[in-house]
């Protein structure tokens, strides 16, 4: 309990190492989430919307990559950025961009697969309606995205959650360097390895609280802007993920 109080008071001490770690964690997660969404959602929409040869194969590959072990994603990026790797001259290993890259490799397939599933579940309905209303292809696409907004939002949360809680890849390519690449998860790992189990748990709780606050803010904003009741949004998205298999 003392450790928890200590952790929270450190969190709100400007200039403390913990506040720096939290800021870096948020920075990393924001970049990873945005980049993998920007890449993953359009790809997912294409895969989900259009019929083409090899679609089943692509869906299978995406579903497999959704379970990509973080350490493997980290290793791949490590080999590419290593001194002896193809991009070694960029000297990106053990930096924030390296961590974001590894996470993008890890998260993009998840975003892509989930959005493909969400889109393909609802696409035939929207297409029928749009056809009936005589909408252009462009309007139809916008309409489709609008109909999927709650699913897409929850995909964003999944991406963010995966990023903020991930340890294997960032440990490997970030190196857990103090003041430079140490994030919450690698700090928890370090405290555990140092035998400070209680403080490690306290840091974990801090991380969960931060996640909770961010999720709440995002959901509240979404409620305000679109008037969608979030419980329904969440349920719909779960239903979309579990029910409509899009294959």
């Amino acid at each position: 309990m003392d450790e928890l109080v200590q952790a929270f008071s450190l969190l709100f001490t400007p200039g403390s190492e913990l506040s720096q770690i939290v800021l870096l964690t948020l920075q990393m997660s924001a970049f990873s989430t945005v980049i993998s969404t920007v890449i993953g959602v359009p790809l997912g929409v294409c895969v989900g919307l259009y019929r083409f040869r090899g679609k089943r194969l692509i869906m299978r590959i995406l579903n497999t990559l959704m379970g990509l072990p973080p350490v493997l994603a980290g290793l791949i990026v490590f080999f590419i950025l290593s001194r002896s790797g193809p991009l070694g001259t960029l000297k990106l290993l053990y930096t924030l961009p390296a961590m974001v890259t590894a996470q993008v490799v890890l998260i993009t397939p998840i975003v892509c697969g989930l959005s493909a599933t969400a889109i393909s579940g609802i696409a035939p309905l929207v297409h029928e309606t749009a056809h009936g209303m005589g909408l252009t292809r462009k309007r139809e696409l916008l309409c489709l995205l609008y109909e999927c907004r709650s699913q897409l939002l929850s995909i964003l949360f999944v991406a963010f959650g995966r990023s903020i809680g991930e340890v294997g890849a960032v440990m490997l390519v970030g190196g857990n360097v103090q003041y430079k690449t140490r994030v919450m998860t690698t700090a928890i790992m370090l405290e555990t390895n140092m035998g400070h189990f209680e403080y490690a748990v306290a840091l974990g709780i801090v991380l969960l609280v931060i996640s909770f606050v961010i999720n709440s803010i995002a959901l509240t904003l979404q409620e305000r802007t679109s008037g969608v009741e979030t419980g329904v949004a969440w349920n719909a998205s779960r239903g979309g993920k579990l029910g409509g298999d899009g294959r």
Binding site: R83, L93, G175, V177, M194, G195, N235, G239
Partner: protein, 313 residues
């Protein structure tokens, strides 16, 4: 929709229950200790009966055959313990369960009662551990040397130094990258002692990289950055980093690395396997084990990785 709500409710209940259990487990450390002692006394009674039985049938089946050894990565990852394990088990009948972590965490497992015997290398922490009653006695029994490894061309000129403190000064003066474990391990503590002896406070300086990692990951990082680091010889020789780094200073007087064994005190944790711990300590300091340890690494690296302390022989 309705079904998924029920499932979620169920899940939430399960999680809440798990969390509650977890909190209870955390807060009642002393409570669990006392209940452990109660169960231990009944166990002791049954084990006494079992051991008298065992003595008559086979010498090599102890009442509680599982021995939990908490050790540092340098002992386990260098292959020493896996190398000794089969012989120890055949000789004593105990089964070793080895966990390895940095010395800080390895000692912590002794404090939480999750080990029977420690094999670690950080004198100050070991003494503190014994003084606070967790350990029976600190038994130093073997040593090796830390080495400073760095880039092939040794830009800081460490090879010309005679002591580790001088070498660290040379690294600091040249501004070359130094990668620190930063994980409160025995190696990390030794490194900080050397900085202190050199009169330098490297914390926060530009060239000083605090990696917060185990020896293997730290060596990888030193190799990637082409920097210097302090390591135990065994881990370095068994790591791929040796392909792009070399030993620039080894076996200096201030780089001796002493390993000790500590049996966990049965007064603090009555259910630990004190008989097993004593058997382990006795065996490790025996003539046979000494010979095995002195031979270890000679075939592969051309030199032993660990040396027996004279006093322990």
């Amino acid at each position: 929709m309705k079904k998924s709500t029920t499932i979620k409710l169920l899940l939430a209940t399960v999680f809440a229950a798990m969390f509650a259990l977890f909190m209870v487990a955390c807060s009642s450390g002393s409570g669990s200790a006392s209940s452990a002692s109660a169960s231990a006394s009944s166990e002791a009674a049954s084990s006494a009966a079992a051991s008298s039985e065992a003595a008559s049938s086979a010498a090599a089946t102890p009442a509680n055959p599982v021995l939990r050894v908490s050790t540092t990565t340098s002992v386990n990852d260098s292959g020493l313990l896996p190398y000794l394990q089969p012989t120890f088990e055949a000789d004593t009948g105990y089964q070793m369960e080895v966990t390895s972590a940095g010395t800080g965490a390895a000692i912590k497992k002794g404090e939480t009662g999750d080990a029977d015997v420690l094999l670690v290398h950080a004198k100050a922490s070991e003494e503190e551990f014994v003084n606070s009653g967790f350990g029976v006695e600190r038994i130093p029994f073997m040593y090796n040397y830390f080495v400073i490894v760095g880039p092939e061309d040794d830009p800081a000129g460490v090879a010309n130094c005679t002591t580790a403190a001088d070498a660290f000064k040379a690294i600091a003066d040249s501004g070359q990258t130094f990668v620190s474990r930063g994980d409160d391990s025995g190696t990390n503590k030794k490194e900080l002692q050397i900085w202190e002896a050199a009169g330098i406070t490297p914390e926060g300086l530009d060239w000083y990289v605090n990696a917060g990692a185990g020896m293997g990951a730290t060596l990888t990082q030193a190799a990637e950055r082409q920097g210097y680091t302090l390591t135990d010889k065994g881990t370095f020789l068994s790591n791929d980093a040796k392909n792009s780094l070399k030993i620039v200073l080894g076996e200096a007087d201030d780089m001796k690395n002493t390993y000790s064994m500590i049996a966990i005190s049965p007064e603090k944790w009555p259910d630990t396997n004190i008989d097993g711990a004593n058997a382990f300590i006795e065996w490790m300091t025996s003539e046979k084990a000494s010979k095995l340890i002195a031979d270890y690494g000679v075939a592969e690296y051309g030199e032993p990785l660990f040396y027996l302390l004279e006093s322990a022989k």
